[in-house]
Symmetry: C2
Subunit: 412 residues, 2 copies
């Protein structure tokens, strides 16, 4: 008799975005006219054309595959050297981070990597996650049995929640209890907040002192516009001893549909067996990837490499300037409407407090029905997200401006 993984039955009914999709589908089914006016600022998905540098490189790579002399079959599971080296030279050397090409693992997405990284960890770890948080961190821990029962407020037993609120600038205080794995994401999804050098130093020092590991999601680092904000956890001294970093081309080069990301596992990073022996994690992740993954599509890797060419960099910057321009428009519209607004300066997300007493799914329904705008309810990101909503700046300029007008027209 085949047994299923019962942890899956502990998962909450809907992953956030499918639930949004369901409500939007119902709305558009019942309101054909309003549906035509619908503007989606819910899921954080890019909308603008893929950079020509990436397209040209992808097509050239496809042509290479058309000639048996230049054909390539299975690539290295960890990614081609050309891309790993381009990442070192363009993403880490300029920051002064000493990351080597073989510490970089190319993958098909940060969602995959932030989920699959749990494969190499044991089940005795105490997991700390910020609240609100990207739901994948929680759900993947539920799936592999790292959590207990669901509580009445929707939180999961066994996790240590680190609340992020205006009072701490959305950067959590150190926990009172011992934790072993700590998820941090800066610039943050969903709050749009950044962590300062001194805040990250506090966390790195804490992790090193406790032999804990920080899982640092830097998927939005390209949106940092202000000086003095760290782009990588490895800018902090000692982070190579205690942190894995996840980065992606999704929001950087508009690759959400093309699929390419990378994860840095430093060779200095150790974890323990139950009897207290310390082992490097790099060979474990290398083994995981070479056994359960077969590398990223060759044309996709060439496309990602081209984002670091002179033309590619210019096009990436144009994309980011565009989305951040939207963010400014949306931020200001919310401020003018008298709402408390966070983020949107170093991130493509604006995090807005609902008017006093309004719950976030209630606000979701109001925005959908009254403004025909899809946002993401804060409660979908965790208990501490209740009373907030997230607006995504990934849109056309015309749509961002129209959303700003509709926000202005709403009765708050």
């Amino acid at each position: 008799m085949a047994f299923l993984n019962e942890n899956y039955l502990k998962l909450k009914a809907g992953y956030l975005f499918p639930e949004i999709a369901r409500r939007v589908a119902n709305f558009t089914y019942e309101n054909k006219e309003a549906a035509a006016r619908l503007i989606r600022c819910g899921i954080g998905d890019v909308t603008e054309a893929l950079p020509a540098a990436a397209r040209d490189a992808m097509k050239a790579a496809v042509d290479e595959l058309g000639d048996r002399g230049t054909f390539r079959g299975y690539g290295p599971e960890q990614g081609y050297g050309f891309l790993r080296e381009a990442i070192v030279a363009n993403a880490y050397e300029p920051l002064g981070c000493k990351i080597t090409a073989d510490e970089i693992f190319i993958s098909d997405g940060s969602k995959c990597d932030t989920g699959s990284i749990l494969d190499i960890f044991g089940h005795r770890n105490r997991i700390a996650i910020t609240d609100p948080v990207y739901p994948v961190y929680v759900d993947t821990n539920v799936m592999c049995g790292n959590t207990g029962d669901v509580q009445e407020d929707g939180s999961h037993g066994g996790l240590v929640y680190l609340p992020c609120r205006p009072s701490n600038n959305f950067v959590p205080r150190l926990p009172a209890e011992k934790v072993d794995l700590i998820y941090l994401c800066y610039p943050n999804n969903p709050t749009g907040a950044t962590a300062s050098f001194s805040e990250l130093v506090t966390w790195v020092d804490f992790a090193r002192a406790n032999q804990a590991i920080i899982l640092f999601d830097a998927a939005y680092e390209a949106y940092i516009t202000e000086p003095g904000v760290p782009h990588s956890i490895y800018e902090i001294e000692g982070a190579k001893d205690c942190a894995i970093e996840f980065r992606s081309f999704s929001k950087h080069g508009g690759f959400t549909g093309v699929r390419c990301a990378y994860t840095v596992v430093p060779k200095d990073l150790l974890a323990s067996t139950e009897d207290g022996k310390r082992h490097p994690l790099h060979p474990l992740w290398a083994r995981r990837q070479s056994t359960k993954f077969n590398g990223v599509s060759y044309p996709v890797q060439r496309g990602a490499e081209a984002l670091f060419s002179e033309q590619g960099k210019k096009e990436v910057q144009e994309l980011i300037t565009h989305y951040l321009g939207n963010a400014t428009i949306l931020r200001e519209a919310c401020i003018k409407a008298g709402l408390d607004v966070y983020g949107g300066i170093n991130a493509p997300y604006i995090w807005v407090a609902c008017p006093e007493g309004v719950k976030s799914w209630e606000l979701f329904d109001r925005m959908l029905n009254e403004a025909n705008v899809v946002i993401t309810p804060g409660a979908g990101f965790g208990t501490a997200g209740e009373g907030y909503f997230r607006i995504s700046a990934f849109n056309s300029r015309a749509n961002a401006e129209e959303v700003a007008r509709r926000i202005a027209a709403m009765k708050w």
Copy 2:
């Protein structure tokens, strides 16, 4: 203190193919001249140009991404409808299998899927694997803690090995003990054997009677040339109640570097909780994929779809005819050399018995040094693979002919 997954420390030192790569690298370093003559028949990786139908479709899809009007960001995690429907119409309907598009999950590879499928199963399952076997099945079970200690002969405690030998035509007999998950792969990697209808009926009946689940790897089904050989487990009545099927475009359309595959999880397929309640597995896999995966690159899915166009089918057939032509040449060369030869008729692999008393890694080294040909030692696929070696037919025609000549020239 962060704990690692100690199951990884139970893995044998080298995954088979990295070990081959290491020996070949040593050889080429020490024998520059002979290295130039080296012909690789080791890893089962395609060598010929990617079909033009796929290339054209991929490039057109890349162009679509260059226009914001036709741009696509995140696709459905389970794959685009156009590809799922093309698979139903071209891979299943002609066989009379009633598989629906939403039972098909598009992925970036069968290696990923055969590994990740264990995510949705519990840890109390008794796992049966054929021997010899594709190493990923074993290693992924080791990684997630489904096995015990490594035995002296290299086998893993806790697994039920099903020996495949000439005496059973490389199709295992039913096990005497109870098993819950059963890995079957036909046409088989590494033996090149097929399973007949009646053999698969025996297994499906056994699985249904025991509420066990068959994990059926059909990655090589496109190589079946003989009539009367089942292409899919779903050709067997009742298989939708007891089997998951894995298929891939890797060896079908030459996609090893492009990355696209699919897994069928029928809606009728149930598994049990520990208290004996039966649940469908389809929602678990759907949840797994939507949480830990983000869909296959859009241009890649368009490329895969194009393999089912009229031109695509023709080109795929030409590829397969080419590789099977090589298989015939290699098969006949081994037969002429007086060796016992299996496979190579409905599969791109030839499975050859080593001369009396010669071990398979010893034969690997002899072939490398004397013929400058890389093969795969049977022992790398399991205990029952000792005394055999695998020759891959993925090569140019000239190389296959040259390998045949070198086999003829060797002293057996």
